[in-house]
């Protein structure tokens, strides 16, 4: 290039600009074409004609049941069931945790929320299985949700700490567990069996990443796992399931499916 003359042409800038515009517009178009309210809502998935959301399988009836009874809140007879598969060491799961809390507090007994353990078998998530066992052991003293909340809210703190079990013990004390019993349950078979049952269900449903959320047995694209996206789907499901002439009050009228 030593002997190539310096050019005064605008051609390189035009090419760079064109590539930038094509890349930005192309990326934006491809992403926005699959956003909530456009072409990937749950109604389409139920009709089986969602072209842009190929990964929305309906849960087969013979799928493994998971831990029984599941860790659930809300009403067992609610018209809408939300089932979340999550991993305590996954940052996206920790980011989803407050979203799910908001959904639970907004809909109360109108929904049934089920949490499933799906600790991924990867070296980077080396504490995840034990964290699920810790939460299940807390569940044996009816404190599953308190421990789940502690683990997700403080994920950064214990994930990076080699002394993580002592940190969990502090959480156990903080939420009022009988710590020796909790430790005993952690070492026992029952808590592990519940985690293994949940994992079997996740694998049976071909869950390949966390968090994965199902609403009324339909997998929700991750892009819709936000407060507005979930409210839109839940409102639509409540409306669909309500008896004729009886319309449930939507939680978010602005986002309700028309």
């Amino acid at each position: 290039m030593k002997n190539t003359p310096q050019t005064k042409s605008n051609a390189p800038m035009l090419i760079i600009g064109a590539v930038l515009v094509i890349a930005l517009l192309g990326g934006w178009y491809l992403i926005s074409s699959s956003k909530p309210g456009t072409n990937s809502n749950i109604a389409k998935a139920n009709n089986g004609n969602s072209a842009s959301t190929p990964k929305q399988p309906t849960v087969p009836a013979n799928a493994p049941q998971g831990a029984t009874p599941p860790n659930q809140t809300g009403s067992a007879t609610a018209l809408v069931t939300i089932e979340e598969f999550a991993d305590f060491q996954c940052p996206q799961c920790a980011a989803t945790h407050p979203i799910m809390n908001e959904i639970k507090s907004t809909y109360g007994s109108r929904i049934r929320f089920i949490y499933r353990n799906y600790p991924l078998d990867i070296p980077a998530h080396d504490k995840s299985y034990d964290a699920s066992v810790a939460a299940e052991a807390a569940g044996m003293q009816n404190k599953f949700w308190d421990m789940q909340n502690m683990l997700f809210s403080n994920q950064k703190a214990w994930t990076a700490d080699p002394n993580f079990k002592q940190i969990w013990k502090d959480y156990a004390q903080k939420i009022g567990l009988d710590v020796p019993k909790w430790e005993n349950d952690m070492a026992g078979i029952a808590a592990r069996a519940r985690v293994d049952e949940d994992k079997k269900r996740a694998k049976g449903l071909n869950v390949s990443s966390t968090p994965t959320v199902f609403i009324n047995n339909v997998e929700i694209p991750f892009a819709q796992v936000n407060v507005a996206g979930l409210k839109q789907i839940i409102d639509a499901e409540l409306q669909k399931a309500a008896p004729q002439g009886q319309q449930p009050a939507p939680a978010a009228p602005a986002n309700a499916v028309k």
Binding site: Q6, P12, I16, G27, I31, S52, K156, S209
Partner: protein, 163 residues
């Protein structure tokens, strides 16, 4: 024209073509990175088969960057592929400017492609040692980064022979 001048002219022509080749390769990198980014935000699995386990790699904590203040995610779930797309675009800019005769940008392209190839090695290490699964689209990206670096190295050797 003497007999010794002929190959030198040929080599100079090769040097001039290398930035164009680099720009085209960088374009492929931009496309690959955008493809991965779009699939991330649409939460759609990428086409994957054979010995590859793309979901394992792309759902691992190494596939995204999250910025935390305390325990509160402030960036949250930015796929690494976005940064890849930006890096390829910068490499593309340097290459295209060099192709049009701006001598200053080719060394910058060299620095950029070296950094990218180094980071690609780190990502390959994560796949092979830490995650123990491979994603073909990530390997394609690593190959493109390596190709950009090799193009730069070739340009140095050809330049030395012409000098």
């Amino acid at each position: 024209m003497t007999e010794t001048e002929a190959p030198k002219i040929e080599e100079k022509s090769t040097i001039a073509k290398l930035p164009i080749l680099a720009a085209l390769v960088a374009l492929a990198g931009i496309a690959d990175a955008i493809f991965l980014t779009v699939h991330h935000y649409n939460a759609e699995p990428v086409p994957c088969g054979g010995p590859f386990d793309c979901e394992m790699v792309l759902s691992s904590p190494y596939s995204t960057l999250s910025g935390f203040v305390g325990n509160v995610p402030v960036i949250g779930d930015m796929p690494l592929s976005i940064f890849g797309a930006v890096a390829y675009f910068i490499a593309f800019c340097f290459a295209i400017l060099a192709a049009f005769g701006d001598r200053r940008t080719w060394p910058l392209f060299g620095v950029q492609s070296t950094l990218m190839a180094t980071f690609a090695c780190y990502l390959f290490y994560l796949q092979s040692v830490v995650i123990r699964a491979y994603c073909q689209w990530c390997l394609i990206s690593a190959g493109i980064s390596a190709a950009l670096f090799i193009i730069f190295i070739i340009s140095i050797f050809v330049k030395r022979r012409t000098a």
